[in-house]
Symmetry: C2
Subunit: 286 residues, 2 copies
């Protein structure tokens, strides 16, 4: 059988196009056609390096969210000292209610359980202190809701503890999450910039750089952002992966790999199951 089938699509969603316009006017864009294929079951997942807002809006419109999920979240992987952490939301929802943060926690737990094969992923809420009194009313309400479930909720986490592997799933609103992610990217670039500058200054620096090159290359590979490419739009009735717009072959391969794992582990099915259980519990408790 053919491993690749090409579908026709005549329109292009511009990177700066308003999501609502893309949704209404670009019904023959590759983005929309790909999401339609996920919807009708002929594709297992959609991977796009296009306009994030348009991808989110179109996915929500075509695939709809899983019952019990108000809005999908963007979830990505980050390197930590002893492995990886998953963080959501990274920008789809600037402002989040306690209910939404709670839903992100539940989704994060079940998705990471599936794709990382961890029994009880540690779920934490991103906050500006670890004490229970810290943060907004919203975040404290979400904490109380998560603590009342059977997921492994470990409390508040500060942004510097993410790299310390203090949690497997970090839950936050899209504004904070996006800022944390970008701050991390910026700092990694800055340190790399300083490192290269040092190894390029003076004869000794250059010689040391030559000798240290294989070691530096190995470090560079470990923090290579391409290895972490492919953010999941979780909470939809279907798998949609957002690749970085500037992705090269290595990075795009990683995004495809993420999609394959999510298909294999039936991520949307897992979310549907836990949300249905959650709903039953609420009905019983009410």
């Amino acid at each position: 059988a053919d491993r690749v089938r090409i579908e026709d699509a005549r329109q292009v969603v511009a990177m700066d196009e308003a999501p609502a316009d893309a949704m209404r006017k670009k019904k023959d864009s590759s983005m929309r056609v790909a999401i339609n294929l996920v919807k009708d079951g002929s594709a297992g997942a959609c991977i796009s390096a296009g306009n994030t807002g348009a991808l989110m809006a179109t996915s929500r419109f075509v695939l709809k969210t899983v019952p019990g999920i108000d809005r999908p979240a963007i979830m990505a992987v980050l390197p930590t000292k002893s492995g990886r952490a998953h963080m959501l939301d990274l920008g789809a929802n600037s402002d989040c209610s306690a209910d939404q943060l709670f839903q992100f926690g539940i989704m994060g737990s079940v998705v990471v359980q599936g794709i990382e094969e961890i029994d009880n992923p540690r779920v934490a809420l991103l906050n500006i202190g670890e004490e229970a009194m810290k943060g907004s009313d919203t975040i404290r309400a979400a904490a109380a809701m998560l603590a009342a479930t059977r997921i492994n909720y470990v409390g508040f986490i500060e942004a510097d503890s993410i790299a310390e592997s203090a949690a497997d799933v970090i839950v936050c609103d899209g504004f904070s999450g996006n800022i944390a992610l970008k701050a991390m990217e910026g700092t990694a670039h800055l340190v790399k910039h300083f490192l290269l500058e040092e190894f390029r200054s003076g004869l000794y620096g250059r010689l040391a750089g030559l000798i240290a090159w294989p070691v530096l290359r190995s470090l560079s590979r470990r923090v290579d952002p391409r290895r972490y490419n492919g953010a999941s739009l979780v909470g939809l009735n279907g798998i949609v992966i957002k690749s970085h717009g500037g992705a090269d072959i290595v990075a795009f391969q990683q995004a495809i790999h993420t999609a394959m794992i999510e298909v294999d582990k039936d991520v949307p099915g897992r979310i549907r199951t836990i949300m249905a259980e959650q709903g039953d519990r609420e009905v019983l408790e009410a």
Copy 2:
């Protein structure tokens, strides 16, 4: 004349003490005594490595804010590719109104103008996109207010552009600011951890590490957090500097140095002057 005078103080503010308790019950703590000395003019500045919340609450109570400033902000220095950037608020105010963000922008501009001797510091608002439509209503209202002043407001900035030296002053609410700062610290530690791991693994890595040592030490000095110790509590009628709790001699010296510069440049006076001008303009416009 004696360069050092020791003042008696019989109480200690615990690191986990509630700010309100510290303020009411610890009137003979070194923190309170030092702030009182700033108030009565016998000290030019107070430097504390103690409880941040208590320091903020006590400073506000004793020194009061400059007319036109609702609440003080915590401002600190960050390394960037081509120099330094100043960021506020870093945690004093979780939730900020547009007015407060506006006040932070005005204060940041005038303080950085003084201490960095830059004519028109570039002031930016931290956001999750650079387009004018991005972010909350609050942040967009603050942007409109800053754009209408004579300060050099350059628009929204994403967290990864801070390290790129895209602005001299970065304005944000205390929640986002604290998360950005901690995310940066965590990433710097993570990269350092990976770097040391690489230079400690295998014979080649160890040898390369030995040769690269002077270069790595020079890098380490450049990103040494001790060189950035000493956050200013700006907006008060007096100079109060918060040092990191775990500061050693080098770090504390840096905090003292920051205090000396602020005394030399009369930071509170500069803020009073620009806020008075701002007030006059509002009266004229009204």
